[in-house]
C-alpha cells in the first residue's frame, strides 16, 4: 500500500548572495515526489524595517516588510525529470501579524495559503534514484547588503511503498482548495 511521508532537509545560509548546492536523500521506499514546501528559521535578528541586529534580546516581534520578505530562490532537479522540476521563491515566512489578518495570502513560496491555512506545492516526479539536487541562492542578504544567517528547510512529500495503513494528507485530495486564492 502506498502512503505519503515527509522528509525534512535543512541547510544553513550565512552569507549575502550565497549560492548553495546540496542534495536531498530520499527514502529507498519512495516512488514518487508529490509535494514541496519550504520554510526559513532566522538566526539573525530581523527588525521591522528589515534591518538586522546582531545583539541578542530585546527585539520586538518583527514585521519585516513583505516586499523584502523573499529569502531566496530554490531549484530542485531529479534524474527522472528533464531540467528543473521545482523552482520558486522562498519567503522568509508568513509574518505572524499578517497570518492573523483577514487577507493573509500570497505568502509562503511553494505554498498556497487557503484563508490562513497552508498546503505544499504539488509536483509529480517519479523516483528511481534516491537523490535530488537542490540549488539555493540567497537574495535577502543581497537586498539588505548584509550577511543574514538562517536555516532553510525543505520539506519533500514522497509517496512510499509501506506496509503501514495509508495516511492521506489534506492537500492530496483537495486540488480545488489548494489552488484557490
Amino acid at each position: 500500500m502506498s502512503r505519503v511521508r515527509i522528509l525534512v532537509s535543512e541547510t544553513n545560509i550565512t552569507k549575502a548572495g550565497q549560492v548553495k548546492h546540496f542534495q536531498i536523500k530520499l527514502s529507498k521506499h519512495a516512488f514518487k515526489i508529490v509535494g514541496i514546501e519550504t520554510d526559513v528559521f532566522a538566526k539573525s535578528h530581523l527588525t521591522k524595517d528589515g534591518t538586522i541586529q546582531d545583539t541578542t534580546g530585546g527585539i520586538p516581534r518583527a514585521t519585516v516588510n513583505n516586499n523584502n520578505n523573499t529569502a531566496g530562490k530554490l531549484k530542485l532537479q531529479s534524474m527522472e525529470k528533464e531540467n528543473i522540476f521545482f523552482s520558486d521563491w522562498v519567503k522568509a515566512s508568513v509574518f505572524y501579524e499578517e497570518f492573523k489578518q483577514p487577507k493573509a495570502f500570497e505568502i509562503h513560496s511553494g505554498l498556497k495559503d487557503i484563508r490562513g491555512k497552508t498546503a505544499p506545492k504539488k509536483v509529480d516526479v517519479p523516483v528511481e534514484s534516491t537523490i535530488i539536487n537542490a540549488v539555493y541562492v540567497d537574495t535577502i542578504g543581497k537586498f539588505h547588503k548584509q550577511d543574514i544567517s538562517y536555516t532553510l528547510k525543505v520539506f519533500v512529500w514522497i509517496e512510499t511503498n509501506d506496509n503501514q495503513n495509508g495516511v492521506t494528507f489534506e492537500f492530496l485530495n483537495n486540488e480545488k482548495e489548494t489552488t484557490e486564492k
Partner: protein, 127 residues
C-alpha cells in the same frame, strides 16, 4: 454509534532551545483520528520558533523538524476546517507521541508558553 471526538494535549515549554517529548494515551473508546492542529497560548512564539514530530501508534505522521506554522490555522479559517486532515487512522487504545522543539528565531524573544496538540476523531458511544 460513532461520535465526534476532540481533545487537546498540552506541552509546557519552559526553556528556550529545548525539545520536549510527551506521550499521551488515547481513551479506548476513541476509534479513529482524522485531524490534527496546533494551538498555543503564545501563537507568535509557536509560529516562529516551533518545530515538531508526531507519531500515532508508532507510525510517524510528521517527521522531526517539521515546522509548527505549517499546521497552524489562522482565525480566517472556518472553525470546522481548522484541523489538518490526515485520513482516518485506527487508534483504539493507542498512543500519540508529540515531540516539540523550540529553536531560536531572530524575530522573537523567548518566554514560557504552552503548546497544545489538538486531535479530532471518532469515539464509540452507546448513547
Amino acid at each position: 454509534m460513532l461520535k465526534y471526538y476532540s481533545k487537546q494535549f498540552d506541552v509546557q515549554i519552559t526553556e528556550a532551545r529545548k525539545t520536549v517529548k510527551k506521550t499521551f494515551e488515547v481513551d479506548k473508546s476513541v476509534k479513529t483520528i482524522y485531524g490534527v492542529c496546533i494551538l498555543s497560548n503564545r501563537d507568535d512564539l509557536t509560529y516562529y520558533r516551533g518545530s515538531f514530530r508526531l507519531e500515532i501508534n508508532k507510525d510517524e505522521i510528521y517527521p522531526e523538524g517539521y515546522s509548527t506554522k505549517k499546521i497552524m490555522s489562522s482565525e480566517n479559517v472556518e472553525p470546522n476546517k481548522r484541523c489538518f486532515f490526515i485520513g482516518k487512522i485506527s487508534i483504539s487504545n493507542g498512543l500519540i507521541t508529540f515531540e516539540y522543539t523550540d529553536s531560536e528565531d531572530g524575530r522573537t524573544v523567548f518566554a514560557p508558553y504552552i503548546v497544545s496538540l489538538s486531535v479530532d476523531g471518532e469515539r464509540e458511544s452507546e448513547i
